[in-house]
Amino acid sequence: MTIEETAAKLRSRKVSAVELAKESLSRIREQQPRLNAFITITEEVALEQARRADDELGRGIDRGPLHGIPYALKDLFETRGIRTTAGSKIFADYVPETDCAVYRKLSQAGAVLMGKTGMHELAYGITNENSHYGAVRNPRDPSRISGGSSGGSAAAVAGDMVFFAMGTDTGGSIRIPAAFCGCVGLKPTFARVDRTGVIPLSSSMDHVGPFTRTVRDAELVMQAISDYVPDRGRSITGCRIGVPANMFQDRLSPTVSTAFERALGQAAKLGAQFVPVTLPDPEALNTIARIILLSEASAFLEPWLTRRAEFGVDVLALLEQGRLVSATDYVNAQRLRRLYKNRWRSVWKHADVVFTPTVAFEPPPIGQVDAEVRLSATRLVRPFNALGLPAVSIPLNTNSFPVGLQIVGRRLGESGILDVAEALEAWSQQ
């Protein structure tokens, strides 16, 4: 069921918010031993918020489409009185005194918080294999990774535990788990969603966005948490879809390659116009983004680096790399980033949106992800963190795992990418 369908049932009294919350809690408890999607389940908060939602609807107070809808927050969104670990031992006992901006907005919208989801330690990795809280497992096959770093949020949505969940994306951390778990993951334009009260990783590349079951649901969440005003209704017919001639179609698994070609074929059937585009060196952008990420993450976490034993091995290795990047290289990386942003402007003279696969391969088994796989998982998504452009990953069904189709738009062009995503959505689920 979608958010809109459920919202209609709430208003016609076919279901209550308390019933929805109890159903969600029951599903979470049932799935938790299998998937480990949550670090904290907020049962009391959920039932209290749900009772308030029912009471308000009964008195004619309607806060909009998220009123009474169960959701989850990645465990780096600060929540007053509720432990916020960032998936780390460092913050294991951190109980914030204030709420982050997104939680405040979702509470104002009447949404019901079911819990805080599992994540890669400090959002610094894409596997969600977490040495402190255990691996989050993929709902489609629990022997495989969920992807990360927002893997618990993706698993909670794909595993039908909540209607939507919030994540963050610094180098693909919304889009990668969305692709691996088979749900919609939207990384909006940089800073379009207020990051106040979100524990940072890379201050100039962290993005906040939703995981949902449908494209329309992602739009409803965006309306509640940001200044996003839908400007929808453009037909895919005649839409100029940029298909990168370089890098983005290299080294794809056969399943990903076939699914991507099928998506292009379907878009063509719907009347889209394909434009081959050569993108300003995406490999260079990946390098630039890595220099920035390493520097900013180590700068933020430096006060805790005296507690080396409390970091996971993979995260500590990244933090040590960051300490060895020079200030000169960091500044030059930011200058190069600006240069590439300018070069990217020419892409939009020829294309309305750009299509790429989200990840080049299907989710690997837990425990079998090496450094090379980690880097290649971010290859197709990280450039758009450096550029700050909106990008959505939608699931394409295959005979095996779902595959992500990434649709990228110009700055503040969320409506454009959601139009195209929605046009392909019904077909993509077949």
């Binding site: 290795a317 040590e320 790399q321 300490r323 060895l324 290289d329 990386a333 190069l336 600006r338 240069l339």
Partner: protein
């Protein structure tokens, strides 16, 4: 190539040499990819305006 162990020592960073040895190939590869990009930067000061 940069001597990362010497660099860490010069900056008084408390990173064990064994740890640095493990991340050296990654840092070397990153530096090799990044150094040519820096040459793309314009010399003009226009970018600061």
């Amino acid at each position: 190539m940069t001597d990362w162990i010497a660099l860490a020592a010069a900056r008084k960073l408390d990173i064990p040499p064994d740890d640095i040895a493990k991340i050296t190939p990654i840092l070397d590869a990153l530096e090799e990819a990044f150094r040519p990009l820096v040459r793309e930067l314009p010399r003009a000061y226009a970018e600061w305006e």
